[in-house]
């Protein structure tokens, strides 16, 4: 029972964190447009994107339940591994200083400037620029959440719990956005992305190996071992890359 609880907690946590970090980015886009061009059109864009994403979950969720669990875990594991390693790789590059940290305040300023200079065109009674920017922003950020929710939920047979974790994050980020009335630049976005990358890769490794026919020692408890191993590996890689970067900077300063 305990091992089932562990994977369930990690499943909800993964869906919650992934959803939170994507929704913070979507919120920045919607706020950037809304404060300059008014709220009606961007909010209708948000609503339309939310309906499209909900329809995708409603259509794909039950469809995946007819796929045999072994095949599903192999495919989902492979996709999560490829997807999760991208997140982890970017998080390590950011933490080691090799790429710039994502800055919500800077992104908000950029979206606001673009919204102010964009031409005004009305279609179907809407400010078309504000509508499409909000729609595309929420749809594209939301697609990653839908992908994670469906893959996490279907491979473990707990789609409802994964969706609940993601929905909780959407509500929390929206409430925070309404209260703050600005971009959530204090959210430790890069740390959360690191954690999500670690969880996606660990779940992908666990389900991918199971789908390929391997049996993990300790069954679902070994998921914690995979997270520990990949966490330690990431920590070491950040330290090595940071030292390497500082070495290059020091030799450049001497030259």
């Amino acid at each position: 029972m305990e091992d089932v609880s562990t994977s369930t907690v990690l499943l909800i946590l993964g869906a919650f964190l992934a959803s939170a970090v994507e929704m913070v980015e979507a919120l920045t886009i919607v706020l950037g447009v809304g404060v300059v061009r008014g709220w009606r059109s961007p909010l209708i864009g948000v609503g339309a994107a939310t309906i499209a994403l909900a329809a995708l979950v409603a259509a794909l969720g039950p469809a995946l339940s007819v796929v045999p669990i072994g095949t599903l875990r192999l495919v989902v594991g492979a996709l999560l591994l490829a997807f999760g390693l991208q997140w982890l790789r970017k998080a390590i590059l950011r933490s080691s200083g090799h790429t710039a940290l994502h800055d919500e305040d800077e992104a908000f300023r950029r979206h606001r400037e673009q919204a102010a200079t964009a031409t005004s065109e009305r279609k179907a009674g809407l400010d078309w620029y504000a509508f499409t920017v909000a729609f595309k922003g929420v749809l594209l950020e939301g697609l990653e959440v839908v992908f994670i929710v469906i893959s996490f939920g279907s491979a473990q047979g707990r789609l409802g719990l994964a969706a609940a974790g993601a929905a909780a994050a959407v509500v929390l980020v929206t409430l925070a956005g309404v209260l703050v009335r600005g971009p959530l630049e204090r959210v430790p976005e890069n740390t959360i992305k690191f954690a999500v990358g670690l969880l996606l890769t660990s779940f992908g490794c666990f389900w991918g190996a199971e789908g390929a026919g391997a049996s993990w020692p300790g069954d679902e408890l070994s998921l914690l071992g995979v997270i520990g191993f990949l966490g330690l590996l990431s920590f070491v890689l950040v330290r090595v890359l940071r030292r390497q970067r500082l070495g290059v900077l020091a030799s450049g300063a001497k030259a």
């Binding site: 192999l74 594991g77 492979a78 996709l79 591994l81 490829a82 997807f83 390693l85 991208q86 982890l88 790789r89 970017k90 390590i92 590059l93 950011r94 090799h98 790429t99 710039a100 994502h102 697609l143 990653e144 992908f147 890769t201 490794c205 991918g208 190996a209 789908g211 390929a212 026919g213 391997a214 049996s215 993990w216 020692p217 070994s222 995979v226 191993f229 990949l230 590996l233 990431s234 890689l237 890359l241 390497q244 970067r245």
Partner: protein, 71 residues
């Protein structure tokens, strides 16, 4: 044709991303795990090892290539 290309590009970026070698290495590692397992070797250890090598290799290439994109 333009939309088809954009659609394919979106999914390529979504799944494969900046380094196709990682995705190819993962496919190979999963195939090897399946092969070994179906020949009586419980190869649960192969995938974590493959991830370690692929991640380290990808980061090594990225930090040597100028202009690594921020995402």
């Amino acid at each position: 044709m333009k939309y088809l290309r954009s659609f394919a590009r979106f999914w390529w970026d979504f799944i494969v991303g900046d380094d196709w070698r990682v995705a190819a290495g993962l496919a190979l590692a999963l195939g090897l795990t399946s092969l070994l397992t179906h020949n009586g070797v419980n190869a649960w250890w192969l995938l974590p090892l493959a991830i370690a090598f692929l991640l380290a290799g990808s980061l090594w290439r990225a930090t040597r290539a100028p202009g690594e994109r921020a995402g």
